[in-house]
């Protein structure tokens, strides 16, 4: 029941769902939600391997930094979303077609 595979399968499901959210949703905030799910899947993998395979805590450090980077990414990403909304008055991803102006 509680072994490496169950964690890996959960993380696989999280990853796939995150990927589908990123592809299917047209809302930029929803795409950021998908990215968070993907990052969580990888962090979960690191911790699971660290407990069941390597038997040291380097995996924990990795997932710690993944969480840190996810937070920084969310901060910058949402700032871009807000700026985009100020310019275009929408946050539909298909409206993002111009590199400037």
């Amino acid at each position: 029941m509680m072994n490496l595979y169950s964690y890996l399968i959960i993380s696989l499901i999280l990853f796939v769902v995150g990927l589908v959210v990123m592809i299917a949703r047209k809302n930029i905030v929803a795409i950021l939600l998908g990215i968070e799910l993907i990052l969580n899947a990888s962090a979960l993998n690191f911790v699971a391997y660290s407990r069941y395979v390597t038997n040291n805590l380097d995996g924990h450090i990795f997932s710690l930094f993944i969480i840190v980077i996810a937070a920084a990414e969310a901060a910058v990403g949402l700032a871009i979303v807000i700026r985009f909304f100020q310019i275009k008055e929408t946050i539909h991803i298909d409206e993002a077609t111009q590199l400037r102006n």
Partner: protein, 139 residues
């Protein structure tokens, strides 16, 4: 071998479970005891007696986001500082206090730069910079 029940997870889960139980129990009691006479006027949002105009889900000032942004960066930095702070005493007793102090202070000094930048650029004032931008607009 020590069974997992002795570890601290169980009380945490029990307390969360109690919160959920209390919540649904209270709802149940309220369903049983409370009167139920719904009317349209009763369930309009409260707006001091006036009929509400429009939805409350409107746009808010970007200030709120900037505050949240500064918060999340500091939050993450404090998360990283927690394990280092909790072994600081141990390192000090092992004679590595100076090394730990340098690492710790250099980490915090970057934190201070962040807050100094936001302070200087006026992200920390709530009203003043708003008036500032208003003034620009009237020009």
């Amino acid at each position: 071998m020590i069974p997992a029940e002795f570890d601290g997870l169980m009380p945490v889960v029990i307390f969360m479970g109690l919160a959920v139980l209390l919540f649904f129990g209270g709802h149940f009691l309220s369903v049983v005891l409370a009167p139920k006479k719904p009317s349209h006027l009763k369930s309009t949002p409260y707006e001091c007696g006036e009929l509400p105009v429009g939805s409350a889900w409107s746009m808010f000032n970007v200030r709120f986001y900037v505050v949240g942004l500064i918060f999340i960066i500091f939050d993450v930095e404090s998360v990283l500082m927690f394990p280092v702070a909790s072994i600081f005493k141990e390192l000090n007793e092992m004679g590595q206090g100076g090394y730990a102090l340098i690492i710790f202070l250099s980490f915090i000094s970057v934190l201070i730069e962040g807050i100094a930048y936001c302070w200087r650029k006026g992200d920390l004032d709530w009203v003043k910079s708003f008036q500032h931008s208003l003034k620009k607009e009237t020009k």
